[in-house]
Amino acid sequence: MEHAIEMLNITKEFPGIKANDDITLKVRKGEIHALLGENGAGKTTLMSVLFGLYQADGGEIRVNGQKVQIRNPNDANDLGIGMVHQHFKLVNRFTVAENIVLGEEDTKRGFMRYDAAIKRIENLSKQYNLNVDPHARVQDISVGHQQRVEILKILYRDANILIFDEPTAALTPQEIDELMDILQNLANEGKSIVFITHKLEEIRRVADRVTVLRDGKRVDTVEVSTTTNNDLAKMMVGRDVVFDIDKEPSKPKDEVLQVEDLSVYSPIRKKNVVKNMNFNVRGGEILCVAGIEGNGQTELVYGLTGLNPVSAGKIWVNGEDVTDLDIRERSLRGVSHVPEDRQRHGLVLDFPLSYNMVLQNYFQSPFQQKGFLQEHNILEHTNRLIDTYDIRTSSGAATLARSMSGGNQQKAILGREIDRGNSLLIAVQPTRGLDVGAIESIHKQIIAARDAGKAVLIVSYDLNEVFMLSDRILVMYEGQNAGVFDPQETTESELGLYMSGSKRSEDA
């Protein structure tokens, strides 16, 4: 079969690391070829070599059977190769059309001519079912639409080979579904697609074949239809990965968190984004809040932890009314919080790990005495957490939090929050952006915390995670409780209806 791209024996080194070691990747015409690997496996480097951002130290690249030299992205463009980057490269204040023609402007005597371009954009948009308005400003459209603008930008330049670098990382489940359809459309129209990801589900849904990378080397290239997820995960991580964590049925105890008619006002959106929520979480159970991002989950957690004041309603923790208490007082009464944005809220990045591990209890004995920090106790505590929660660092407790990987940062936060011995653990998107190995470890810790009798509240936008962890599922839609479900008795598609607001439970 004819190949659109052949990357043969590509080697690329950076100081101290062989990012690509003798990697061969062959992409057939009209196929969706997934590139799978953990963070740091060399996926992005390989694609950057193809796109001309880096020069390979060894190996050769063939496009449509012809040997080529790709020195910079312009060369790649000329060869019909386009890339949708993980972080979009758009001018927010420009319209969609202005962004698309940027660099290829059609002018007449120095004046811009948009008519033909807009016509072409509209046609392309129709042809591939992208549904993008060329006159809209980029700052006004959703992340999913911005991504389509990036795709249009490439199509506008007549690319036949499209590279997608982790395209689903920032999308909602619905947007992901739509993107998958778009990818399928593009492939049907004869475009060849390379799709970088570390999510197995997405590969299963659209990819024809998958090449697995690990530690800069190619493990194998396989047909998706003849391979199981377990095999893929094993190839990617290099060992067996447990997907379905053996979870004992929960043994709920007393109610730890009770929420009554809770409303939270968002100063940014200038309205109540959480409206009259009622629910409770018992010790020894995991309640997952499912829903599409932006339906008030963030504000719900802010209200529960005290980061935002509540505008109405009551919160009880262990039977005590904490509605009017501040963050510190709630934390001392049993609220642990793994924040959604781990770098903004969870860590002081320029502190060493040890200082980060006592962020909420630095003022308690034995970490302080008479107003002085007790460094040795802080170090001892940190070293214990490093061992217990398998936090990997370059220089132990003295490692700057900034220099740690995302997975280890998250393990550190989770370890800190669990270890404080609080009865309620609230975790928002605990595994966002992490690779399979780290996700596995974090899920295990969360379940262990439940088995130790803690009440756990998880907010997740990832339904797989919701089904894997939860003992009960609460669906949030437009700031309200749309229904509570037993994960054994419901399905993803049923939840989807409630998440999108098409259905509402009567009793909620």
Binding site: P15, G16, T305, G306, L307, D326, I327, R328, E329, S331, H337, P339, R344, H345, G346, L347, V348, L349, D350, F351, Y355, L359, Q360, Y362, F363, Q368, G371, F372, L373, S395
Partner: protein, 436 residues
């Protein structure tokens, strides 16, 4: 050749005729020869040696040892920062030298030496004066550095210093019933006034989210005119158009220091400053309060998440910073022969403090060293006025100080250098791999 040499050495000759007793009888030409020739030889030899042995085993080992040093320093961000501050000072001095060359090449050599050897021109007397001039700079530097560690930019040290100075002098003039405690009360009064003045931008920042830079810079001007008015109303000496001087009981005592540094203006302000440096160091690095301040400074959101009272911390931080700038005011004006004048520009020491805080990497000990450096250069400039006009000297000092404050720039340079060397290190390792 000889004539060129004569030209180069010429300035030293001119310098030799000057009246600076300490340098008068030193054989400059010989000394320069002794110093310069071995240095040049050593440098040449090193370059030659490196070329020659670069490829040999020994050379590689040498290179590896050097790389190890680099590697070690590369892993310690503090080391790079300190090195960059030192390098910045060297650049500043070089740049100052270039300015001198441009203005008057014939005096450049001697002028430069005068400036860097400033503190030793008159023996212990000028050493004492150096310390005396460094004291308020160190204190304002501490003030700026302290706020900076909490993520706040205190541009208002100048105003805080000035209101502190007024209160100190007012107490010094009016409250002569205090006897031996007169200067203590005057200094404490200055600290209180500075604290109050610093608390204004702190409170506005914490509760109304008004940017502290805007508020504190404006308050600098408010302070000048307010103090002008207050001086005219309460402690004015109309014949000399300046404030009255404080009673001698309000002067900062000199204790035994006047015996060590005869005829110098030095007083125990340096001990008070050292105590402040020590206190700030402990406060920032060892205490729970310091931990909170640093958390708020490095990541306000995380501090809030952790339940710290970030509003309280911001206000306190600015208040403490203000009090230390106020103390600087007391140290500047509670001395014989210095009077508050009717000004229309903010006091320069407040702004020099910003440069000193940057140069000292916002660490108390760093600020101490940088402040003493400033004092030394300042004294040197005073003596260089016999060679260059006063304005030129001020320009040169300014160039040295502000160039020195560009330590961030040199920091990047060093980082780049280390990166390049690390790349080479990898190549080196590989070539060894080939041999093995």
């Amino acid at each position: 050749m000889k004539r060129i040499w004569e030209k180069i050495i010429h300035p030293f000759k001119v310098f030799g005729r000057k009246t600076h007793t300490l340098f008068a009888n030193i054989p400059w030409r010989k000394l320069a020869g002794w110093l310069l020739y071995p240095l040049a030889l050593l440098f040449g030899a090193l370059v030659a040696l490196k070329r020659k042995i670069g490829a040999t085993r020994f050379g590689k080992r040498l290179d590896k040892a050097w790389l190890k040093v680099l590697h070690w320093s590369g892993e310690k961000p503090e080391t790079i920062k300190v090195a960059s501050s030192l390098l910045a000072v060297v650049f500043g001095l070089l740049f100052g030298f270039i300015v001198m060359l441009v203005v008057d090449p014939s005096s450049a050599g001697s002028g430069f030496l005068t400036i860097i050897l400033g503190p030793f021109q008159q023996g212990m007397r000028s050493v004492g004066d150096t310390i005396f001039y460094a004291v308020p700079i160190i204190l304002t530097g501490l003030s700026v550095a302290f706020a900076f560690r909490t993520g706040l930019f205190n541009i208002g040290a100048s105003g805080q210093l000035y209101v502190g100075a007024f209160v100190a002098v007012y107490i010094g003039v009016q409250w002569d019933f205090l006897g031996p405690f007169h200067w203590v009360v005057a200094s404490l009064g200055a600290m209180l006034a500075g604290a109050a003045w610093g608390a204004i931008p702190g409170l506005l920042k914490a509760f109304r989210n008004v940017h502290e830079v805007v508020v504190s810079i404006m308050l600098n001007y408010v302070s000048i005119y307010l103090v002008n008015l207050a001086v005219r109303s309460f402690i004015f000496n109309p014949t000399l158009n300046r404030a009255l001087g404080p009673e001698s009981s309000a002067h900062i005592p000199t204790l035994f220091l006047e015996n060590i540094f005869p005829r110098s203006s030095i007083n125990i302000g340096i001990f008070i400053t050292l105590a402040a440096v020590f206190l700030f160091h402990i406060l920032l690095n060892r205490t729970v309060f310091g931990y909170e301040l640093k958390s708020v400074g490095l990541n306000r959101d995380a501090a809030r998440y952790a339940g710290m009272k970030e509003k309280r911390n911001i206000t306190l931080s600015m208040t403490i910073a203000g009090s230390i700038a106020g103390l600087a005011g007391a140290m500047m004006y509670l001395v014989p022969g210095t009077y508050i004048r009717i000004l229309d520009v903010p006091v320069e020491q407040g702004f020099t403090g910003i440069a000193i805080a940057l140069l000292g990497l916002s660490a108390p000990v760093g600020v101490l060293i940088a402040g003493l450096f400033y004092g030394a250069i300042n004294r040197g400039g005073y003596f260089a006025q016999s060679l260059y006009r006063e304005e030129i000297v001020n320009v040169i000092i300014a160039v040295i100080i502000y160039f020195s404050a560009l330590s961030l720039f040199t920091q990047q340079m060093i980082a780049k250098y280390i990166n390049r060397r690390t790349k080479k290190e990898i190549q080196l390792k590989e070539s060894e791999g080939d041999v093995g």
